[in-house]
């Protein structure tokens, strides 16, 4: 299958186009891909028909139907024949207990990898790093069915020159291997700028940062970067805010606040990664868009207003994940005006909706795409 407009969009620089210059190529790709999903995914077509949405006619961004993330938990939605799916990704299911399931063909997998890599390189720099991964060695799994956790870790290794893990297991609990960590990190400032410490947010804080704080053990790693992703729910319940995490990482590792980078993404749109920039904002890449909707009415909200985040991207063609309404609350903070210099929309994520029942989801779930 070829997607000419999508390929053209993918060739653009990640954050250099102003919003007005990006809109045309983005919508061309989105129209192309939406029609593909409509023609090849029967449940998605029924979903659109129920909403009187016909992608044969041109539509604008606000008109494209969105799938709530909950829908990906019930069925493996595909826009390609099942035999073309070579990998199935499952989310961690921390909120609902049921994982989302995503089927990737090789085209989508390659595109997602490319987008992920470009967003990460833009933030950390185009060079190789010594990765210190705060997880078990087994988390870098190599199976046909991978978890989002192992997939994420492996995804980052494209910019690694060395990878070491620093956690072990003790009675079923994760435990920091402090001796190993000291060997890896106590090499002096001449190597620290080549160091990236990576971990899932909760694991990093609970199993590394907090124990080190309690021990009074600190490191001096000027220029090193801390990358973390996911797992805020547990930390929020323990009153650990993003600001506190940054402060404590800086205290423990001796890094600058702008070098503590929070990666935001979700399984339903793998490859779409939104790192915090030097100003603490998140940027939508050229192959993505974001809208904010009122949690009750689902009407679009203007810049500055908090609501449910809807993410739109044409990069996945094996399943209809191009327009997803998440359960995350956030707001668009600006367009083309972030002090970091990146162009396009800028947004922040503020947390999860407490009662994440998207209006309309109930009837969608009940009918289960029935004709």
């Amino acid at each position: 299958m070829s997607f000419l407009h999508l390929d053209e969009l993918m060739g653009q620089p990640v954050y250099e186009l102003k919003q007005k210059d990006k809109s045309g190529p983005f919508m061309d790709a989105l129209w192309e891909v939406t029609r593909h999903h409509f023609e090849n995914c029967m449940p998605y077509r029924r979903f659109c028909n129920k909403r009187s949405f016909d992608p044969a006619s041109e539509f604008d961004l606000s008109q494209i139907p969105y799938l709530p993330t909950a829908l990906f938990k019930d069925a493996l939605l595909l826009s390609v024949p099942e035999e073309e799916v070579f990998r199935e990704i499952q989310s961690s299911a921390t909120s609902s207990g049921r994982p989302s399931k995503i089927g990737l063909d090789k085209q989508t997998n390659r595109r997602q990898s490319l987008c992920f890599n470009k967003a990460v390189l833009d933030r950390i720099g185009n060079r190789r790093f010594n990765f210190v991964v705060m997880d078990l060695p087994s988390a870098m799994g190599r199976n046909a069915v991978v978890t989002a956790r192992s997939s994420t870790i492996r995804s980052l290794l494209f910019c690694a020159k060395d990878v070491r893990t620093c956690l072990g297991e003790d009675g079923g609990q994760l435990k920091l291997d402090l001796e190993n960590l000291e060997v890896l990190l106590d090499k002096g400032s001449e190597t620290s700028r080549d160091t990236i410490i990576f971990g899932f947010t909760f694991i990093l804080y609970a199993n590394v940062v907090r124990p080190l704080l309690k021990l009074g053990k600190t490191f001096k790693l000027p220029g090193a970067k801390i990358l973390h992703i996911g797992g805020w729910k547990k930390l929020e319940s323990q009153k650990v805010t993003p600001q506190k995490l940054v402060e404590d990482c800086c205290a423990v590792f001796g890094v600058n606040p702008e070098d503590v980078i929070d990666l935001y993404g979700f399984t339903e749109q793998g490859g779409m990664m939104y790192p915090t920039c030097e100003e603490g904002n998140r940027h939508v890449p050229v192959w993505g868009e974001v809208l904010v909707r009122d949690p009750v009415t689902l009407e679009l909200l203007p810049i500055g207003k908090q609501g449910l985040m809807q993410f739109i991207t044409p990069i996945q063609t094996s399943y209809p994940g191009h327009s997803v309404l998440t359960e995350d609350l956030g707001s668009i903070v600006g367009i083309d005006d972030c002090a970091c210099g990146r162009k396009g929309k800028t947004f922040r994520i503020n947390g999860r909706a407490e009662h994440a029942e998207v209006r309309g989801c109930g009837d969608i779930m009940a009918e289960k795409f029935s004709g």
Partner: protein
């Protein structure tokens, strides 16, 4: 130029644990199952070491689409 090709073949077959005869100019992650994200990183690092060159992550993404492009990239970098 044959030396570059042969050397790349040797490095790739060792890293991916396949016979050199199973690697062709159009071999890529889609048609060579052993070529996954982990072995790709190992391949880039292995070629860096073997040829004493630096390959940036961006080059590793964009210039390493298939075996033929890898050879072309190395040859260009070595000016052969």
């Amino acid at each position: 130029m044959d030396n570059v090709r042969e050397t790349c073949l040797k490095v790739m077959s060792e890293i991916m644990e396949v016979e050199p005869s199973s690697i062709h100019d159009d071999s890529n992650p889609d048609n060579l199952p052993e070529w996954d994200s982990l072995s790709h990183v190992q391949l880039v690092l292995g070629l860096e070491k073997t040829f004493a060159i630096e390959i940036t992550p961006e080059e590793g993404i964009e210039q390493f689409e298939n075996f033929r492009k890898i050879i072309e990239f190395i040859e260009k970098r070595l000016n052969v």
